[in-house]
Amino acid sequence: MPWLPLLEQDEFSNAADVRLNFLDKFSKQAENLIKEEQFLSDDLVNKKLWLLPSVAALTEAAEIAFATNNTERGLQFTRDALSKIMNEKTNVSSFARMSSLSAILGGSQTILDEDGPILRIPPSSRRQQFSWEASSPVMRAASGTLVAAALASDKPRSNFKLLSRREESGENTKLARIAVTLASETATLPLFEMSRDDDGFLRTDSPKKEDKIFAAMSFLSLHERYAASLRLNMSDKLRWRELRCRAPLIDWPLLLLHLAIRRQKLEPYFYDLPIFMYFKPIFNLKFENAGLAGRLFIFLKSLAEAIDKQTSR
């Protein structure tokens, strides 16, 4: 039963319901509300000023639902958010969000191609593509998210063409490759049977056991990042009680990595790695012995399981 640590069920159930209802109502009525407030002209209405606020509200609602054992509703909010973005002309700033949302729902494919990221979404295999040049700093900032989305996608091992060795690459491609290499999520690639050489290009042989152990440690350390984000949220006690969060409740790239492990059926092998022997108490659900990062690991693992069960039907 995935329930976010630090949210006492008795204390937050009601706040979650209130918050979800508000965000749901706002997202559905965003167009009328913002038009009413701004006396918008037809030109401005055409620019859909209400769209991104509506998507932000739905994403936040999905986070709260996922955090409070309401996976089915969370997935519905995710679908609603994705359909709003997909029905409009996509821009670079929403591409990372589209990749994340579609990867959560499954069946899509995020590809880090040499020329730019590509997103394919069924059933029409609708395709969105940008060039690394067009995306520039926004896309590079989103590198970690794109890596996680690519790993959680269909055919993950074919989604990293950017990291294939080429004799010559353009400057933008090189910069994109560096950004992807620097992303924390990229350090987990060996867990998915992708090894890299010293230059960061993919190798054809399988990663060594030592590389997988390092990758596992990188994966675990990402949960400290998540813990820091939650501590930030909690620091404002008034708003935390109302779940008016200042930072995201769910670490989406990390959730995608958990989903990737599950979808690629790596779990039995993954948890046999020597490093995980040290974490036996965590996997035996002895929460009282685990720090926040450890408990978040358990939470995301069970959330990924719940999402996978619902999306693979």
Binding site: F22, L33, E36, A57, A96, S100, D236, K237, L238, R246
Partner: protein, 199 residues
């Protein structure tokens, strides 16, 4: 100086209903809790207000509102904001209307009022000086408030005059727009803009 449109959401409650909302529009304006608590006469206003405006007080208002709410000289308005979501690293737009409605209806639990107004904003922080608002959402100026960026806060000081308030919109708990009252004495910000007409 900049002129910034803002919204403020106030829930319907015992001491604030349709009458108080239209009074705010027509002559009272909107006041901070500190000002509402004062019983002194107008001649003492300046000396009483002088020490309450400070960096410390603004920090308390933004970072510790739970404790400061009852007697803060600042008033939270919202102008919305665009934020780079730190985990998805994608743009999220948190509209002023959403924040104002959230406060006005207590998250969809009651009827409430959303006021639309303009304030003058200083390009640099000056929490001690009355007369203009602080753009707290501007992280280039107020890095210490980055925790609370999503609400797009602009902190007005002491009060906002009625003539700067354009209208009040009334919403029910389902966020359905019920009514709008427009201020007949509203002065548009163009009156003080730096666009000079020909002689």
């Amino acid at each position: 100086m900049l002129i910034q449109w803002c919204l403020k959401g106030i829930p319907e409650q015992n001491n604030f209903s349709d009458r108080e909302a239209t009074n705010a529009l027509n002559f009272n304006g909107l006041s901070s809790s500190w000002l509402r608590n004062q019983n002194a006469g107008a001649s003492q206003f300046s000396s009483l207000a002088h020490p309450v405006l400070s960096q410390v007080a603004l920090d308390a208002h933004v970072n510790g509102f739970g404790a400061a709410a009852a007697n803060t000289p600042y008033m939270s308005l919202t102008a919305g904001c665009v934020e780079l979501d730190p985990t998805i690293n994608s743009i999220s737009v948190f509209s002023a209307m959403r924040t104002a409605l959230d406060f006005a209806t207590k998250g969809g639990q009651c009827r409430g009022y959303v006021f639309r107004m303009w304030v003058i904003v200083s390009p640099k922080p000056a929490p001690e000086l009355p007369g203009f608002a602080e753009e707290v959402r501007e992280l280039n100026l107020f890095q210490q408030f980055c925790l609370y960026h999503r609400e797009g806060e602009v902190a007005a000081k002491l009060f906002v005059p009625a003539r700067q308030i354009q209208k009040v919109m009334i919403f029910d708990r389902d966020l359905i727009h019920v009514n709008t009252h427009v201020n007949p004495g509203f002065v548009p910000p163009e009156r003080i803009s730096n666009v000079m007409d020909v002689l």
